[in-house]
């Protein structure tokens, strides 16, 4: 591990921070054998309940789990309140931005963001132009990825405004912790997160077409072989709504209907976990079997709500990210509460020069990449890897951005030889309906390999429960 980093549990003097004290005391007095036994129990329970993420093949029974770490990440309430304010501010501005670029385009006209950055973006949906959405909300469910720098301040690493996933782990991790270690919750007040599905349903109902007095909501999934199927099913079940696939829906007389045993039933709000391109084979990818032919026309007529809206990807693109602080100033007239990581856009020639010069120190990412794929972590990369990446950047600079390598904060984590510090990030989930809301907590992802900065589950990351405490 290079350089210094912020230790979530211990201060510079090695003393346990106040908000971690109850946990530290419990760890000190609980026999290691009992903790180990509980960890095995957790593994078994996750398997049995089937909280799995890997693709379910025909030869199943072998579903993979995201490793769950039993040491929670603790955040003091006052600090959380600041964070929450910051992400609310950020998501509000991003929604204002999305409304603007599909309407008057003030921010482009004012020259704050170059027009070509937005209008030539692959994720920009011409079909959204001029469309009025309830409450002018585009990204109803957003996940904001935060990391903590060595000075202890939080930075936004990226915004996820399309179909962010992982919230089911936030909920299941909490349930698991309460089941395994009830005594821990008696020692200090941990703010609850269990009301998230209720808030989500409220958010979805709030964006229903105005004619629907008692709106019917459904979760649209690509199906049981999708890697996040568990989460789709889980959320539908928790909200008490139907989990539908494209083939369950059809468009007739200007509305979307579900095929049910008692005939067609009209659907008002679709919480879709299917990507834009697959939603309507008549409008987008013709080979899509996951969508609903004619959906876009119903959506444009205002007879069905989609959450999230189409075309939100233009705002969470990594090349749009550097402009978010400006958006906050432009739309809200406020200073950003959360910091952005300094970012160089390789498409700018002066940035490109600097990036190529300092490759071994930087993190380079693909503009549209996600899941930790297609990125270079300079300090951890071998010389030939860096050179290979250099060639790729030179060949297509527009496709890359670069950032300084952040030293993610660490949190104690169970590894084979006991407790050891591992790097973590944090993803709170922000709901925007009539108001912008979030539950106190989020998903803490942890890089289980020593020194690793990659927390993505697809790259061997694990998760932790996240506690906001008084």
């Amino acid at each position: 591990m290079k350089g210094r980093h912020y230790d979530e549990m211990h201060g510079a003097d090695g003393v346990v921070r106040a908000h971690f004290r109850a946990l530290a005391a419990w760890l000190a007095e609980t026999p290691a054998e009992r903790v180990a036994e509980k960890r095995r129990e957790a593994d078994l329970l996750f398997h049995r309940v089937g909280i799995t993420f890997a693709v379910y093949g025909d030869d199943a029974g072998a579903e993979r789990l995201i490793p769950f770490d039993t040491i929670p990440r603790v955040i003091p309430k006052a600090e959380w309140d600041q964070l929450a304010k910051g992400v609310r501010q950020r998501v509000s501005a991003l929604n204002r931005f999305l409304h603007d670029i599909y309407h008057e385009q003030d921010i482009l006209n004012a020259g704050v963001i170059p027009a070509e950055q937005v209008l030539t973006n692959d994720a920009y949906q011409v079909s959204m132009l001029g469309l009025e959405l309830p409450n002018q909300v585009y990204s109803h469910v957003a996940g904001i990825d935060l990391v903590r720098h060595e000075d202890g301040s939080y930075y936004v690493l990226e915004d996820n405004l399309r179909t962010p996933s992982g919230v089911s782990y936030m909920l299941e991790n909490r349930k698991m912790m309460m089941r395994l270690f009830p005594e821990l919750f008696a020692r200090q007040h941990v703010h609850p997160v269990e009301h998230y599905p209720g808030l989500l349903l409220e958010t979805l109902r709030a964006v229903a077409p105005s004619r629907a007095r008692d709106p019917v909501v459904a979760v649209l999934t690509p199906g049981q072989y999708n890697s996040a199927y568990f989460e789709h099913a889980f959320l539908a079940q928790q909200m008490g709504v139907e989990l539908v696939e494209g083939m369950d829906l059809f468009v007739k007389d200007g509305f979307v209907h579900m095929r049910t045993t008692s005939g067609p039933q009209r659907l008002d709000v679709i919480y879709r976990r299917v990507d834009d391109a697959f939603l309507d084979p008549l409008a987008f990818r013709q080979d899509s079997l996951l969508g609903v032919p004619g959906l876009l026309s119903v959506y444009r007529a205002g007879n069905v709500a989609l959450a999230n809206a189409l075309g939100t990807g233009v705002a969470d693109d990594k090349s749009t990210y550097p402009y978010v602080p400006e958006m906050i100033r432009f739309y809200l007239g406020e200073e950003p509460l959360l910091q952005n990581v300094p970012t160089w856009l390789c498409k700018r020639s002066q940035d490109l020069e600097l990036v190529l010069d300092r490759l071994p120190d930087l993190v380079v990412k693909e503009v549209q990449g996600s899941g930790g794929y297609g990125m270079l972590i300079g300090p951890a990369a071998k010389k030939n890897e860096i050179e290979a990446f250099r060639a790729r950047i030179k060949a297509n600079p527009t496709n890359y951005i670069a950032q300084p390598t952040l030293s993610l904060s660490t949190c104690p984590t169970f590894v084979e030889r006991g407790l050891a510090p591992r790097h973590v990030d944090l993803r709170p989930y922000v709901l925007s309906g009539k108001e912008v809301k979030l539950v106190p907590g989020g998903l803490t992802r942890v890089a289980l390999t020593e020194g690793s900065l990659v927390v993505n589950s697809s790259q061997g990351g694990g998760t932790k429960d996240t506690w906001v405490v008084d």
């Binding site: 089937g50 379910y56 029974g61 369950d248 095929r259 049910t260 045993t261 008692s262």
Partner: protein
Amino acid sequence: MLSRVADRIFWMSRQMERAENMARILGVTSNLVLLDTGELQEQNLLAPLSITETEATYRERHDKLTLPALIEFMALDEKNPSSIYSCLKWARENGHAVRWLITSEMWETLNATWLEMRAIPRSRVTGAGATEFFDWVKDRSHLFRGVTYGTIVRGEAFNFSRLGTFLERADNTARILDVKYHILLPSVEDVGGALDYYQWAALLRSVSAFETYRQLYRDQIFPIKVAQLLILERRMPRSLAACFDQVKEAMDRIRGQSDQPAKRLAYELHARLSYADIEEVFQGGLHEFLAAVLSDIGELGSRIQRAYLGEV
């Protein structure tokens, strides 16, 4: 309820029930084959293939008709869609698609059954462990039905599960009877002969009705009473009449739209089985009666599919 979901639940229940019935048929066949020597052997081995209408497929895969090959084909062959292996596999597959709607106990039963099925050594099933295997399949089916009955919300999921279970059971009982009907026909010779007795007893045992016969009729085994018990006796839970009591109950509770054709046929079959007289059935021809019931059960299945479950 979504049609796709109802479809999965309906078939999940049918497949579990079908696996049980396959195990029953194979269990009885094994017994008969072991008891008999001589000319009935071939007939006994053919019965399971006739019941499932798979003789042609069997012949493509096996040269000779032997008990181990028959068990291999009907219990373990993954390419035979009515094999126990296929039924358990598809029951689990369908359950997996609707996990969020069925109870976790139901899912765990389906999943554990499938995982155990895959772990069972094939040579045991076709050899010394055959009976043990058939009993295990019956146990798993009983368990699944019990878990379902004991845990699932009373609603459309429950209704379609019951509908699938009892339509499948009626279909199986009718098929078993139709293949074996000739042994129940009055014949001049062999009346009360030992051979007949074994055949009748085997037929009763295949639907767990041997003790029931004694208990209800307190009499020697007469073919007409065997037919009465398996077709019209509503106290016997695998009889056609009893199955249709359950089918009707489920159909009563299901709320559909333009489902008149399905409901009409279900109620008509129920009435036919409730009010039939066994003497008249024999006069009109046992085979003709069973063939008509079977064909109507098939038609009812298609109408249910159209009315509630979506296009096939």
